[in-house]
């Protein structure tokens, strides 16, 4: 199921402070796409550090994720601020960011899109829903849509 455009596996980065959610979301992707590469961080600070380390390396060995799944409410640096910083950073702003959060409040949705989110998803209530979401996201971002090469 690897993306035919590159010879390396798809890399998805998840930022979520909730351990259970991290497990469930990654498990859903693992089930659907065992070959994918999945990373997880626990808050915004960690996410930025993770990305900075990878941009610092030479571009040939660049190991930036292909898609970021971002929770909004996180300790230290929350998703909203991270989103703004990502979109301001010229070497990171091309990475699609999907907000994956508990909220379904309109102000959250609107602000996220204003800040540059590529889509906004309210966390599904059960595991089956998560698996469906994982499949849809994969199909959309890695088979339908063309994204910048990492």
């Amino acid at each position: 199921m690897n993306d035919q455009r590159t010879d390396r596996p798809v890399h998805i980065l998840l930022a979520d402070d909730d351990e259970d959610d991290r497990y469930l979301i990654l498990e859903a992707f693992r089930r659907q796409y065992p070959g994918s590469r999945l990373s997880a961080v626990e808050d915004g600070e960690e996410l930025l550090t993770f990305l900075e380390q990878r941009t610092a390396q030479s571009s040939a060995e660049s190991d930036l994720p292909d898609l970021i799944l971002l929770d909004l409410n996180m300790p230290r640096l929350d998703g909203r601020e991270v989103l703004r910083q990502l979109k301001k950073n010229s070497s990171l702003c091309h990475i699609p960011v999907v907000v994956l959060t508990t909220s379904d409040a309109q102000p959250d949705v609107q602000r996220s899109y204003v800040d540059g989110a590529n889509s906004f998803i309210t966390k599904p209530a059960n595991f089956q829903g998560l698996m469906n979401t994982a499949q849809i996201l994969w199909n959309y971002w890695f088979e339908v849509v063309t994204i910048p090469q990492a």
Binding site: D20, N73, T102, S103, D108, A125, N126, F127
Partner: protein, 492 residues
């Protein structure tokens, strides 16, 4: 009742104060009149005294002129020198003049009678003088005339003296009267001032008491108002807190539920094959319960959101609202072969989306609780009503009552209140789906519209729900709703 009584006594009191002041005013005015009267009276009195003196002078003048005439006549008779006649010639017109003056000056019939006598006596004296002057040579006549002249002069003197004494007496009487009336006036003036003083003191004390009482009432009212304001602020605050609480709690409650559902799903996914039947049933019970609770929390969230809308009242054709609702329910209506008859409905200031929610709830209830063997028939009608007939509505204000009645299974009248409460159901959830929040949301929406909602029904006889909505909405409370949407809950 008590209020009415106090109002009555209050008006009574203010009337009493007004009467007291009016009385004081009248008293002061009478004081003025009295002073003026007394002043003019004094003027009249002194004028009269003046007049009396003038009268006495004139009388004495008459006497003296007459004496001059007599002296002159005598001189002429004795000496024959016509120089003595000078006074005689002057006297006649002077006396006439003085007598005419007396005519004016004198008052009283008695005095005028005396004046007539005096005039005759004077005339007689003058005539006698004329005769004497003419018959100077007649010595006998001269002697008799001398005696007669003295007698006549004495008569004139007596008359004049009588008149003067009369005038004196009159003056004395007048003076006494004047003194008396002056004293009386003084006394009345004093009494008037005294009464005025007391009246004013009385009125002032009453007024002061009244002012004090009003001040106290006003203070009390202000205190009540402040208390009320504080209560309202508190209520508003706790209401807002409650709504925020409900919202946050709902979100936070969703979180563990989502995990229960997700992990249960994950367990199922992995172990479906190895689970026995019972375990599968138990697992699905866990999932279903969690999902039901999740729905209830979402409903609770909807419920708490209802009151957080204070704006958006717009004149809306309720017929359009019903049309939209029926459009959404088209499949269901067709599937049940339901007949829905909508009469002419009013145009009212409502939050259209909330009204859609209300009527969607009422109509779907009517369809849900249908009789199993009968196609549902729903009537939606409207009539104009007065607020006086409904608890909590404003009497005298115009409202519209919109009824939604069905031919379904109905309900026992004793549950009328029950059905509008949160999560209250009349039927097992296995028989009829739902969380029991629909009517509670309806009620909250209608209350937010300053309206009234009620229902009545009989088991197996159908049910009627009616919504009473005001023709006009009070002005929106901008202050309260201002930061509501802005501060809306950011939950991740």
């Amino acid at each position: 009742m008590k209020f009415a009584v106090s109002l009555f006594t209050q008006s009574n009191l203010s009337r009493r104060v007004a009467v007291a002041f009016l009385m004081a005013l009248i008293l002061i005015a009478s004081g003025f009149v009295l002073s003026f009267y007394s002043y003019t009276q004094y003027g009249t009195d002194s004028e009269r005294v003046q007049q009396t003196y003038q009268t006495i002078n004139t009388l004495n003048g008459v006497l003296s002129t007459l004496k001059d005439v007599e002296t002159g006549t005598r001189g002429f008779l004795l000496s024959g020198d016509s120089l003595f006649l000078e006074t005689y010639y002057k006297a006649a017109p002077a006396i006439e003049n003085e007598l005419a003056n007396l005519e004016i000056l004198l008052s009283g019939e008695a005095q005028h009678r005396l004046l007539d006598t005096l005039r005759h006596q004077v005339q007689a004296q003058l005539d006698m003088s004329t005769t004497q002057i003419r018959n100077r040579r007649d010595v006998r006549a001269f002697q008799s005339h001398l005696l007669l002249g003295k007698l006549r002069m004495d008569a004139v003197r007596r008359t004049v003296a009588l008149m003067v004494s009369q005038e004196d007496k009159q003056m004395k009487i007048r003076n006494e009267q004047a003194a008396q009336s002056y004293q009386r006036t003084l006394l009345i003036g004093f009494l008037l001032s005294l009464i005025t003083l007391f009246t004013v003191i009385f009125a002032y004390s009453k007024l002061d008491a009244e002012l004090l009482r009003r001040q106290r009432t006003e203070d009390q009212l202000r205190a009540y108002e402040e208390e009320l304001q504080a209560h309202i602020r508190q209520l508003t605050m706790s209401n807002e807190e409650l709504e925020r609480f409900a919202f946050i709690a709902s979100h936070d409650l969703q979180e563990p539920l989502r995990k229960i559902q997700s992990f249960a799903g994950l367990v199922n996914e992995r172990n479906k094959a190895v689970f026995d039947n019972d375990t599968n049933v138990f697992m699905s019970k866990i999932v279903n319960s969690a999902s039901r609770m999740s729905r209830m929390i979402k409903d609770l969230l909807d419920f708490s959101r209802v009151s957080s809308q204070h704006q958006g009242f717009q004149l809306t054709k309720l017929n359009d609202v019903i049309d939209r609702v029926l459009e959404d329910m088209e499949l269901q209506v067709k599937g049940l072969r339901a007949e829905i008859q909508v009469g002419p409905l009013p145009v009212l200031p409502v939050i259209a989306t909330q009204m859609e929610q209300v009527f969607a709830n009422l109509i779907s209830n009517a369809l849900k609780y249908r009789k199993p063997d009968q196609a549902p028939v729903v009537h939606i009608t409207s009539e104009e009503v007065d607020g006086v007939n409904f608890p909590g509505l404003m009497p005298g204000k115009r409202y519209y009552k919109i009824s939604v009645s069905d031919n379904g299974i109905g309900f026992d009248e004793k549950y009328t209140e029950h059905i509008f409460q949160l999560f209250q159901r009349l039927h097992a959830k296995t028989a009829y789906d739902g969380t029991g929040i629909g009517l509670a949301v309806c009620k909250r929406i209608i209350l937010a519209h300053q309206g009234y909602i009620a229902a009545h029904g009989q088991p197996n006889e159908g049910a009627t729900f009616w919504v009473v909505l005001p023709e006009k909405q009070p002005l929106p409370d901008y202050e309260r709703s201002a930061d509501r949407s802005a501060s809306a809950y950011f939950i991740g």
